[in-house]
């Protein structure tokens, strides 16, 4: 799965666009993806839908996969 990286507002706007396009018909599914914050708090990621591009004015950056620094160590 690929990802878009940006601010919280940008990834939420992308998610809203996908949800509008999908118009889910099932009784359970109602959302495309949840924004994921980088462990250092500086940026956000959201799963990319291969059929739907971000808004033209968006500054989201496309990544084929998230780098390891997006996964924190398990807390001990």
């Amino acid at each position: 799965m690929s990802w878009y990286i940006g601010t919280l507002e940008e990834v939420e706007a992308y998610n809203a666009k996908v949800n509008e396009a999908k118009a889910y018909k099932g009784s359970i599914t109602s959302n495309w993806a949840n924004p994921r914050q980088h462990p250092d708090g500086s940026k956000w990621a959201i799963a990319a839908n291969n059929s739907i591009e971000p808004q033209e004015e968006s500054n989201l950056i496309f990544e084929v996969q998230l780098s390891d620094d997006w996964t924190p160590e398990v807390e001990l």
Binding site: M1, S2, K22, Y24, K25, G26, S27, I28, T29, S30, N31, W32, A33, N34, R36, A47, N49, Q65, W70, T71, P72, E73, V74, E75, L76
Partner: protein, 481 residues
Amino acid sequence: MANSNNWGEIYKSTWWGDEDWSANSLKIDSAPPGFAEQNLLLGSEELNKAQDGQWIQRLISSVTADDEVAPIGGETTAESVAFTANKQSRIEQLVTLVAGTEYTFSVWAKATGGSPQSFRLSYYDNTAGSGARENETAPTSWDATTGRATMTFTAASSGTYWMRIQNASAGAAQSIYFWGAMLNEGAAAGDYIKTTFAVGPTDPPVANAQFGDNFGRVSAYYSLRQFTTAEETNAIRVRRSSDDTEQDIGFDANGDLDTTALLAFVGTGGTDNGAVTTFYDQSGNGNDATNATESEQPLVVSGGTLVTIDGYPCLDGDIGADTMLQALDVIDTVGDVAIFSTYALKTDGTTANQITFEIGNGTSSHRIHDTLGRGGAGTFGIDIRGATNYDFGNATGVAVDDIYLNSILSETNGFYINGTQQTSNNAVRSGSTVDALTLFNRGGGAFPYKGKFFEFIFFASDQSSNRTGIETNIDTYFDIV
């Protein structure tokens, strides 16, 4: 009154029903209305006999023979049946029925104490993989006329059926006298016919029932095999990728996932995916594990092909995103628990820190982790967090695509892999305050398990005495060891 008319024997007919009749013919006739030709149940007054071919007991507390004078007949006595607080608690007998034939199942019932008791009459069609039930009430006194509970149904298949007398309450034990069980053809219970079990060798052993037919007090049961033959349940709710519609998928006649219905719904084209939106809790406790977010739902069909390991359907967490299914409010405070999770790796084991499940409240202070890769590549570990943290296990030698069973029990039973104890340390932090159960991740996400899940069974009770039996049941089905 017992039938003394010898219906079913050869006699000169005075009742000819819908057939043409010749005054000079001898016929093997059917009984007229109100007269049952035959009681298809054996041991109609021997409900305490529990050998193969008799009244099999499932999750029963006790059956006491000859405990009460019967409602009719005078010289006979009734058995008392003590059901445990479980709707699967029952006695049952296997019969062979004919498709399209109407049958009536009946029994007299009376509460053993001063309060009416609830129970069910039910049947399960082993060919169709379905059944039906009716709730009944056992009054506090016998009534030979009106005190007979009855259930009429038409057999959908020709083959074997379980005829069941069972508890109707999941939350309360019931104690009831039963007498005169009968199954006859027709739309009403016929005159009672006593039957007995033959003396001598019994029928061949019956097949094992499902997990829930053997083990009670299950708090949550998620699996692609059926929990109990006593209830019709669904395994999963699936969203198909072609149009995002969803459908429940249940089980076939053998209690296995109905893969025919699944693939018919999802499709078998190269772009057809089936994602699991709900992993149903089949225990009846309502702890369904769900996820409303598409990109986090595990797959059960990928590219038009059923996801399997060794032929067993399973849920695949390797979807590239933050996979999880979550049930809220599964348990409030950890006391005695027992957890049995069955899964298989998909990656080569080099990815550390994949959390297969978490029982926790979303904070870091109270939770149970079962973590892949804690001790390095290809390891299992358990992380228990509470007033004191435990971090142990880390068994090595975990192989790709092998099916593993992890057992985690409270007190001194510790942590097991495939039935072998890894530690006897207390694997549960009693007193921890928790709420949610998360599969494929921790509650807060970010540690998706990229392997496959077959089954997850959770008991909020001590099951140390049942551990080997439970592990044997799981191993028998999944052929793990």
